[in-house]
């Protein structure tokens, strides 16, 4: 049985080339009588070469995610086909690096994700999320980044013990001929039963994909126009009891 391909594209080639460089460096260290350290480096390089060659990373598999096939890491992160999966995409007229940088600064996510109250970075990988819940309450959880390729991909999932079990990824890929960047979001969540489950269902609404689509639309509006268009607060005349539609 061949190992599943879970490393793809540029990363796979970078892995192979980086591994080769590392192996060469390690072998050179060994020659220069720095035996053990050199051997370890060479071995690590060997693993990277193998990863690049086979497209399979044992560590990725253990962490339960993949960057191949469009980053279906969320499903793997949750262990199996569970809960609800949402896939949405939008094209934004801005460079991938700029979009990545804005998104990676998680504290800015509530500026376009309506259901979020705040996101606080605890350390480089871990963050604390607060979301709106019915009747003015909030629901909170901790999450960690499980995958990051600067300018290309961010993958995250909730930490063990969180009430809301979810994982997500956002991929930034270049659209053809200067048409900007395609932003692909995949979100998977597995609402537990009971009160928390009801809260998650409330947050995501009847149409989870529409909720994410509107979040992505606001992200695009912020990135392109610098503001989200609104009519909230504009004047209007008297409204009758019946609204014509």
């Amino acid at each position: 049985m061949t190992a599943e391909v879970n490393v793809a594209g540029v990363e796979r080639w970078a892995s192979a080339l980086g591994g080769a460089a590392l192996a060469a460096y390690g072998v050179k260290q060994m020659r220069e009588e720095r035996g053990l350290a050199g051997a370890v480096i060479a071995a690590a390089g060997g693993v990277l070469i193998a990863r690049g060659g086979s497209g399979h990373c044992p560590m990725y598999a253990a962490a339960g995610f993949t960057t191949a096939n469009g980053g279906s890491d969320t499903r793997a992160a949750l262990g199996a086909r569970r809960g609800v999966t949402v896939d949405e995409v939008v094209t934004i007229n801005a460079p991938a690096e700029q979009l990545f940088a804005f998104w990676r600064n998680f504290s800015q996510l509530p500026s376009f994700m309506d259901h979020l109250v705040s996101v606080e970075q605890m350390d480089y990988r871990r963050s604390h999320w607060v979301a709106k819940a019915p009747a003015g309450r909030t629901v909170q959880w901790d999450a960690e980044i499980i995958n990051e390729i600067p300018g290309e991909l961010i993958g995250w999932r909730t930490l063990d013990g969180a009430d809301v079990v979810s994982a997500g990824s956002v991929r930034f890929t270049r659209a053809p001929a200067g048409r900007g960047t395609e932003v692909h979001v995949r979100l998977q969540y597995d609402p537990p039963a009971g009160k928390i489950g009801a809260t998650v269902a409330w947050i995501m609404g009847h149409e989870p994909s529409q909720t994410i689509r509107e979040d992505l639309r606001r992200f695009k509006q912020l990135m392109e126009a610098g503001e989200v268009p609104t009519i909230a607060g504009q004047p209007r005349g008297k409204q009758s009891l019946l609204n014509y539609d």
């Binding site: 048409r179 989200v228 268009p229 609104t230 004047p235 209007r236 409204q239 009758s240 539609d245």
Partner: protein, 393 residues
């Protein structure tokens, strides 16, 4: 402030409403000095456009003085005199960068609504239903203008309001309709509808080098105005339009046809009456008899240019004729910001004075009466201009 408010089909009133405020960083607030009623406002009055709500402020042809600017708006200053285009555009998306301003991705707060109906959203519009954003319109004393660093055009002191007001919609709209005809030397352009947009299209076609313009209508004062603009006119009430167009063009047919009528065509043909019954029975939403005639009459390989507004589903379009004759269709809301500056230059050079269409000047308080006059073509009404800060006599 005072504003013209839509309540229901055939029910618009002038009311006191709160003054507008800055809501977004690129906004500006305009004190409106002159505004107008547009033919497309009649589609709202008649209840043809869905997603209107009682309380909506109408109006999308307005100009005035900047009285407040948002903190990110570096282009406008308090005191600037500006004409405001009826389409709202962000200036930075793929479509704005391609000068397809009325297709802006980012200016419709109700984009999801438009996506349900049209697949993708188009730009926000002032005072034109919630499908295009629900923005409060400009038949009012003040208006909030979003993305005001992109749309409003500054006007030099020497020009009167009435000379430049129609840069807000009908002049660019008529001009784009003519430009879409790709006019070549010797071309004959046929124009269905001699309302304000049709009148602008007739004059624009001549500005762009048309040999002849043949206009089609049945309202005497509109026919006279079209003739004044240099057009030959056919009256659909007593002439067979197709046969006459063919005869007038040596059997070739018009090189391009402009439908400046849109979804509420009042033709005298059988299909027009069938459309009226169907629309009344909700079997179709739009009444496209002018469009059918334009497609049928257009010469082989010609262009059908459509500035007239359509909103929904059209029945019995002669698509076979369009296909077999290899016609080209060009249409859509006007890409305002592409045309406003060059057309202001034409006005400054004296090539055209768009105020020729104005027949009535009323204070805003009389706007409901203006709507009725315009709709029923009473008192030879072609175009109503409103003064929002003038009190009732």
């Amino acid at each position: 402030m005072k504003a013209l408010v839509w309540h229901a089909t055939n029910d618009v009133r002038v009311e006191r409403v709160p003054d507008p405020t800055i809501l977004n960083p690129r906004d500006a607030i305009i004190k409106i000095t002159t505004t107008a009623i547009c033919g497309s406002d009649l589609h709202l009055l008649d209840g043809y456009i869905p997603t209107m709500q009682a309380g909506d402020i109408l109006g999308h042809e307005f100009m005035g003085e900047v009285v407040e600017v948002g903190r990110e708006n570096t282009k406008l200053a308090v005191g600037d005199r500006v004409v405001v285009p009826f389409t709202i555009a962000c200036g930075h998306c793929f479509f704005c960068e391609k000068q397809l301003w009325s297709l802006c991705d980012n200016s419709n707060p109700n984009a999801w609504m438009a996506e349900k109906l049209y697949g993708y959203t188009t730009s926000g519009l002032f005072g034109y239903s919630h499908l295009t954003g629900g923005y409060a319109g400009g038949q009012a004393q003040y208006a909030r203008v979003p993305f005001a660093d992109v749309g409003p055009l500054k006007i030099p002191a020497g020009l009167a309001d009435e000379q430049v007001l129609f840069l807000s919609d009908i002049f660019p709209t008529g001009y784009m309709a003519a430009e879409n005809c790709d006019i070549q030397p010797g071309d004959t352009i046929a124009v269905w509808g001699c309302g304000p947009v049709g009148q602008m299209a007739i004059r624009s076609a001549f500005l762009l080098g048309a040999e002849r313009v043949i206009a089609i209508d049945d309202v005497p004062e509109r026919i006279r105005l079209a003739q004044k603009g240099g057009a030959e006119v056919l009256n659909f009430a007593d002439e067979d339009i197709f046969e006459r167009l063919k005869a007038l063009t040596g059997g070739r047919g018009p090189d391009a046809c402009i439908d400046a009528v849109g979804l509420e065509a009042h033709g005298a043909t059988l299909d027009a009456y069938v459309d009226k019954v169907k629309a009344a029975a909700f079997l179709a939403t739009d009444r496209p008899s002018a469009l059918r005639q334009a497609i049928h009459a257009c010469r082989k390989g010609g262009i059908v240019s459509i500035p007239g507004v359509y909103g929904g589903f059209l029945d019995k379009i002669p698509f076979g004729a369009a296909f077999q004759k290899g016609l080209t269709f060009r249409m859509g809301q006007t890409h305002m910001m592409k045309y406003m500056q060059p057309l202001l230059a034409r006005i400054e050079r004296g090539e055209i004075d768009p105020s020729f269409v104005i027949t009535h000047r009323l204070p805003l308080d009389d706007a409901p009466r203006g709507y009725q006059m315009f709709k029923n073509k009473q008192d030879e009404c072609i175009k109503v201009v409103l003064q929002p800060h003038e009190t009732v006599h």
